[in-house]
């Protein structure tokens, strides 16, 4: 909402020429999201401060109408009017356009001159905290003074907010400072972007010329700046759960799970090949990574992918390129939405069912329902189930004792617990079961993941 630029270079009022804004006036501009006011809290020869006050219309932001923003937010209670975000970049570009483009009509020599500047942003959201803030600005030579705001002074136990009051000091031509701010403010925020179209890439290239390609955080800057506008589309799920969306819905898994996942999928594929099955149901297929492995092998003539998440299925559909299948392949792969807590005729009739890291996303009390749906009703000849091995968690340095590897995990089992459950299922439903460890195996704690292979008993 408020961004001030101060200089003490004598005569400090030259700032007015540089910004092309008269220090004695209060000026106003219209931008798409609201108004911008430019005024000077102080303007003397020794110290001059220009304030850019961004006045976002909170109602206009939400209300969709002919004149309002196309990417309207759906919440009126929103930090956007009060923080520096991509709206602030847009305001800088418009209000300070000549300075940003290195033009100064009356004193052109000033544009090239490095001057001592102090920029203060009253509220800057930084996803990534002070560490990231410093990683972004310090390599460019800024002195960074940041103080993080508490969420609510009355409830200190709620902790700190993601907002900082930030002061940046540097000796640079103003054009460069504005350019840095233009790119880096939305990078800090990393929230909803109001950019559209390909020209954003060109803008980044243009504004980043001379500093971005050598910046150590170049990758993160580029990625965040060009953040996919798809992030704007709030999931329907969040709409349903409105006031109850918590971390469980949104958290990301630990990074080092990625390679392990490939191992798991390869192992599962190998087992399926050994079993010489031709039809496979991947229950809880997610984004369809296993389906893609299976698809490439013609021995699998009928493949089903089922997941409860529509979004995952959409991704799977596009990654599998199901819309571009030749006619002969049309019925080979099927995707459908379903949940393993319901019995479902559509998953019956496959040689093998595969549940890769699925069961731990169900409440333990719902496992009898899964057992009935898969082993009682669908009854494929083979079932492969993998799940994480809780014993292995001690080997992850970052993990807190007692925590789970993924925020949506409802339980994580030791090998003994998994075996007890799987043996019980086998006994109740007429299967035999064997086990193996998955991933890099530790002599005492086993593999990071574990697998059970069930075979139906024909009596």
């Amino acid at each position: 909402m408020l961004l001030t630029i101060k200089t003490t270079r004598y005569p400090a009022t030259d700032l007015g020429y540089l910004l092309h804004k008269h220090p004695a006036k209060v000026q106003q501009f219209q931008i798409s999201a609201g108004k911008v006011h430019i005024f000077y809290p102080e303007a003397t020869d020794t110290s001059c401060t220009a304030a850019l006050l961004l006045d976002i219309d909170p109602v206009g932001l939400v209300r969709k109408g002919p004149d309002s923003n196309e990417f309207a937010l759906d919440q009126y209670v929103n930090d956007r009017p009060y923080v520096a975000s991509s709206f602030m970049s847009a305001a800088i570009a418009q209000a300070y356009s000549s300075a940003m483009n290195g033009r100064c009509k009356d004193k052109p020599q000033l544009t090239e001159e490095a001057m001592p500047f102090e920029v203060t942003i009253s509220v800057l959201p930084v996803k990534g905290g002070e560490v990231l803030l410093r990683e972004l600005f310090e390599p460019l030579g800024y002195e960074v003074i940041a103080s993080q705001l508490p969420l609510d002074t009355q409830y200190p136990e709620w902790g700190l907010s993601r907002y900082f009051t930030v002061t940046l000091r540097h000796n640079l031509p103003l054009q460069q400072i504005l350019t840095h701010l233009y790119i880096l403010l939305p990078v800090c925020d990393n929230d909803k972007h109001y950019y559209i179209g390909d020209h954003e890439i060109e803008k980044l290239a243009e504004k980043g010329k001379g500093w971005l390609d050598t910046h150590p955080a170049q990758e993160i800057i580029t990625r965040r700046y060009l953040k996919n506008i798809g992030a704007l589309t709030r999931q329907a799920l969040e709409v349903v759960l409105k006031d109850e969306v918590d971390e469980a819905v949104t958290d990301k898994p630990l990074k080092d799970k990625l390679r392990l996942h490939d191992i798991r999928l390869q192992t599962v594929t190998d087992i399926l090949l050994e079993l010489q099955v031709s039809s496979v149901a991947d229950l809880g297929c997610g984004e369809g990574k296993l389906l893609r492995l299976l698809k490439d092998n013609p021995v699998f003539t009928r493949i089903l992918g089922m997941d409860v998440s529509l979004r995952a299925l959409d991704i799977a559909r596009s990654k599998l390129k199901l819309d571009k299948q030749p006619l002969s392949q049309k019925d080979r792969i099927q995707l459908l939405q379903g949940a393993l807590t319901y019995k479902d005729k559509r998953i019956a009739g496959y040689d093998a069912a595969v549940l890769v890291e699925v069961m731990e996303h169900l409440d333990e009390l719902r496992l009898p329902a899964l057992e009935k749906a898969v082993f009682g009703c669908a009854r494929p000849a083979h079932v492969i189930i993998t799940t994480v091995n809780a014993e292995y968690n001690v080997l992850y340095e970052k993990m807190q004792p007692g925590s789970f590897r993924h925020a949506d995990h409802r339980f994580e089992w030791t090998r003994a617990q998994f075996r007890e459950w799987a043996n019980g299922v086998a006994a109740r439903c007429g299967y035999e079961v064997s086990f193996r460890d998955l991933g890099e195996i530790d002599p005492t704690h086993g593999g990071p993941s574990q697998l059970a292979l069930f075979k139906i008993l024909m009596n």
Partner: protein, 867 residues
């Protein structure tokens, strides 16, 4: 074959049949059909030819035209509609397909033969320019028809109407549609349905007397039946309905038959045949029947019977109808039960099913066919009462019940009182026979048969587009995309579906106020109900917490018995989307224990004759459940707003002090700063730290259901009083809601209620809810909006943002549409009600779940979340 004489002007056909017109081209089939049937009942091969080739006479598309005709006919028959096939049908191959179709849908195939003379056919065809048949065609068709005539019955036609003169056809002016023998929908009972008697005469008499009938035991006659007077003042007698298997194995099959014949002959009651009865008939007809499975005993008892009596028995059994549909189709009785698609249908298949049920084709270790439990898949509207398979106790499963409790094997003779759904049994006096297969299924399970079945819900009734028909209001359509979202929410986050017997509906605010400074005001709410014709409303304080449905059972045994839930404690608290309110199981059970104790202390369970209750409530503080939302959205926005605005005000003050013309700007931002502070104050009202049960407050506002009963018919005052009684049992945890009753014709009462609302909201309260005096009020099948909320001005800051009440914002925010929200609230309300009703009636969980699932799906309809 019925040859219709020339002077007869009407024919009778069963009201549900597949009518084949048989006649050569030009015989007058289409004219006959058009004259005597509805246009939509006629499926014409010529029309089908036209539909797919633009030419009704195009013989090259005959195959496709037949497929289309068959498709249409199948759809109609499935829905139970009479269908007339207008095609020549002179060849046996053509008729074979139609007979197969009739069998598939268990309807009677019927032939009407239009045996028109050849020259008439030829003459008619000559007048038709569009039809150019070769000269040989009609003689050939007539030849085929003549040859067919005597085979029709063998082909499977039950009724054949032969019209062999043009005059005979023309004279027919009316086709009477006769009800099927099984159709007793007009008889609404009440009934006492009695299971397999198997010659246990004394027990049958004992049972009838227990039920209130008078029996002449020696003469085997019914002397009297208990009379009941219904709500409209009509007095009727109860009727016994015997489910068949009257004979075999037991000591006195003869007397049982006598009594049954007396009951049926005099119209005192009904009887359907059982497989044993039919076998006895075959024996009496002299067929080769093996004397075993108890028939040998019956035959022995019949030794001294007179030939007249034997003939009467044979006629009696012969005349029994396979099954009956009673009480507007709400009740079906059949010896071995009946699948829904066979209700009220007539075919050999139906009769077979009624007598023997369904078998898997396998033979078990006792040498008996393995029975397939059709009731597992039953989801029909009608209640099905049957016997045939002896069970240890009669139990409901998917609206069906097997009441053969094995009297002859030493069990009991059981009757189901309808519509009371009450079971009455008398014990067997002795064991007369030994079953060749042990009686009972999974008898060790603590769950009822229905609960065992309920363990597995089926995807088929929830996925995709669904149309639900709740008993109040209109039908509700659930769109496939909303069902898909609900599936994700339900399966990933919701509690055990056995607890989910209700979800609360959404609530709409009042019409937008036009008073300065207000977006919502009670005046609009009162006006709305007044216009809806409501005399009296109740205003309840709206607590700001999280909506919670609280189910409390007296103990864990009740949770198991009534909800089929084991090992999850004796209750559940869940949110409006079906998620567990407490993440901490121990805290949850401690909470429920406290509510339970309050219920016990205040004598609730005894007063309400129940051992569980489902409450609709608000659970505070808001911060307990909405912690993430509070931090990420409310506190964050508050922190950002107050910090940013104080920096802005400071900068502007400095500018003004230094002479910049920024005074106006300063004023406007100073007021924004004030609004931001008020915003923080507003949300803080609803936050307090919780670490133990004592930190929570539960404000129930509605007693939703107890054993066997929902409480929607009671007034809100009644609810408030009953709840206040409970709250007295634990004032630390439970909070009675303050309320007042307002007569809408009295302006003074209205004004007082408005002042009350102003005081509530000035003190930081969320506002109030206006409700019609009773929650469920229905006029002309339209439900009156059950509640309208009026939110306070400060509370609305956390809905519409800190600066919402600036005049320039308020004027824009006033433009809001309530229609969608209102319609949604009604649909959700109707589904919630239906779910609860079904639960208290003991319906299968699948049906309860369908409603709750639909409600959750409706929640994903795009609607302004701020309303």
């Amino acid at each position: 074959m019925t040859r219709i004489p020339k002077e007869v002007n009407n024919i009778h056909i069963p009201e549900l049949s597949l009518v084949l017109l048989i006649g050569a081209s030009g015989s007058g089939k289409s004219t006959f059909a058009r004259r005597l049937f509805k246009p939509t009942e006629i499926v014409s091969s010529d029309v089908c030819r036209g539909l797919i080739s633009d030419d009704e006479n195009n013989q090259s598309v005959s195959k496709e035209a037949f497929e289309l005709a068959r498709f249409i006919a199948a759809k109609r028959l499935k829905r139970g509609l009479l269908t007339v096939i207008d095609a020549t049908n002179v060849q046996p191959e053509a008729r074979k397909d139609w007979i197969a179709l009739a069998r598939e849908y268990h309807v009677l195939p019927l032939a009407i033969v239009l045996d028109t003379p050849e020259r008439t056919c030829q003459a008619r065809n000559l007048t038709r320019a569009d039809r150019n048949l070769g000269n040989h065609v009609i003689p050939q068709q007539i030849n085929q028809l003549k040859r067919s005539l005597r085979h029709l019955r063998k082909e499977g036609f039950r009724t054949i109407v032969h019209l062999d003169a043009v005059e005979a056809m023309d004279r027919i002016t009316c086709i009477h549609r006769d009800k099927l023998y099984s159709d007793l929908k007009h008889d609404k009972g009440p009934f006492d349905i009695i299971g397999d008697v198997h010659g246990c005469y004394t027990e049958l008499c004992n049972l009838l007397e227990t039920l209130g009938y008078g029996v002449d035991r020696e003469q085997a006659k019914l002397l009297s039946a208990p009379a009941v007077t219904n709500e409209d003042g009509y007095t009727t007698c109860r009727k016994p309905v015997l489910l068949g298997d009257l004979v075999d194995r037991g000591p006195d099959s003869l007397q049982v038959l006598r009594l049954a014949m007396d009951i049926v002959k005099n119209g005192h009651g009904y009887c359907v045949p059982g497989n044993h009865d039919v076998k006895l008939k075959r024996y009496l007809e002299g067929k080769d029947v093996k004397l075993r499975h108890g028939l040998e005993k019956t035959v022995e008892q019949l030794q001294h019977a007179t030939p007249e009596f034997l003939a009467a028995i044979k006629d009696f059994i012969e005349g029994l109808v396979s099954h009956y549909m009673l009480d507007d189709g709400r009740l079906v009785v059949a010896h071995a039960g009946l699948r829904e698609e066979m209700h009220g249908r007539g075919s050999g298949g139906v009769r077979e099913f009624c007598l023997f049920g369904e078998t898997t084709g396998e033979i078990d270790e006792f040498g008996l066919p393995v029975r397939y439990n059709w009731a597992l898949e039953y989801s029909g509207r009608a209640m099905v009462v049957y016997g045939h398979t002896p069970v240890p106790t009669a139990q409901w499963l998917n609206k069906t019940i097997d009441i053969d409790t094995g009297c002859v094997f030493g069990g009991a003779l059981t009757a189901l009182r309808y519509p009371e759904r009450e079971l009455v049994s008398v014990p067997a006096l002795e064991q007369y026979a030994v079953p060749s297969r042990p009686i009972g299924y999974n008898a060790g399970s603590p769950l009822s048969l229905q609960q065992q079945f309920d363990d597995m819900l089926d995807m088929k009734d929830i996925a995709g587009k669904q149309i639900l028909q709740p008993r109040y209001g209109h039908s509700v359509t659930i769109r496939a995309e909303n069902a898909a979202v609900a599936l994700e929410a339900m399966s990933r986050f919701a509690v055990n579906p056995k607890w989910l017997i209700y979800l609360p509906p959404t609530m709409s605010p009042a019409e937008t106020s036009t008073q300065a400074g207000y977006l919502e005001h009670p005046a609009e709410g009162f006006a709305w109900y007044r216009n809806a014709g409501i005399q009296q409303v109740v205003c309840e304080e709206k607590h700001m917490g999280s909506r919670a449905v609280v189910i409390v059972c007296r103990d864990e045994a009740v949770a198991l018995k009534r909800f089929g839930v084991a090992g999850e404690g004796n209750g559940m608290v869940y949110t409006r989307t079906g998620r567990a309110f407490f993440n901490d199981k121990v805290l949850e059970q401690e909470f429920i224990g406290r509510v339970n104790q309050a219920l016990i202390n205040t004598g609730f369970y005894d007063k309400f004759e129940t051992d569980w209750v489902c409450l609709d409530a608000e659970l505070m503080p808001w911060s307990a459940k909405a912690q993430a939302l509070l931090k990420n959205q409310y506190a964050s926005t508050g922190a950002a707003a107050t910090t940013a605005l104080s920096a802005v005000v400071a900068a502007l003050e400095q500018a003004v002090a230094n002479g910049a013309p920024a005074a106006d700007l300063l004023n406007s931002y100073a007021s924004k700063q004030l609004q931001a502070q008020k915003f923080v104050k507003a949300y803080r009202e609803y936050c307090w730290p919780v670490s133990a049960v004592n930190d929570y407050k539960l404000a129930p506002f509605h007693i939703l259901a107890t054993e066997g009963k929902t409480w929607f018919e009671e007034s809100h005052e009644w609810h408030m009083q009953a709840i206040s009684d409970i709250c007295a049992g634990d004032p630390q945890l439970l909070l009675a809601t303050s309320y007042r009753v307002v007569d809408l014709s009295d302006p003074a009462q209205e004004a007082a209620a408005i002042s009350w609302w102003e005081a509530l909201t000035a003190g930081g309260g969320e506002g109030m809810v206006i409700k019609p005096s009773r929650l469920l009020q229905v006029t002309n099948n339209d439900i009156i909006q059950p509640a309208i909320k009026i939110r306070g001005s400060e509370y609305l800051r956390i809905i519409y943002g800190p600066e919402y009440d600036s005049p320039e914002n308020l004027s824009r925010l006033r433009k809001r549409g309530l229609g969608h929200k209102r319609a949604l609230a009604l649909r959700e309300f109707a589904l919630g009600l239906e779910a609860l009703h079904l639960f208290v009636e003991g319906a299968p969980l699948q049906q309860v779940h369908q409603q709750v699932f639909g409600l959750l799906a409706l929640e994903s309809e795009p609607v302004d979340p701020r309303l």
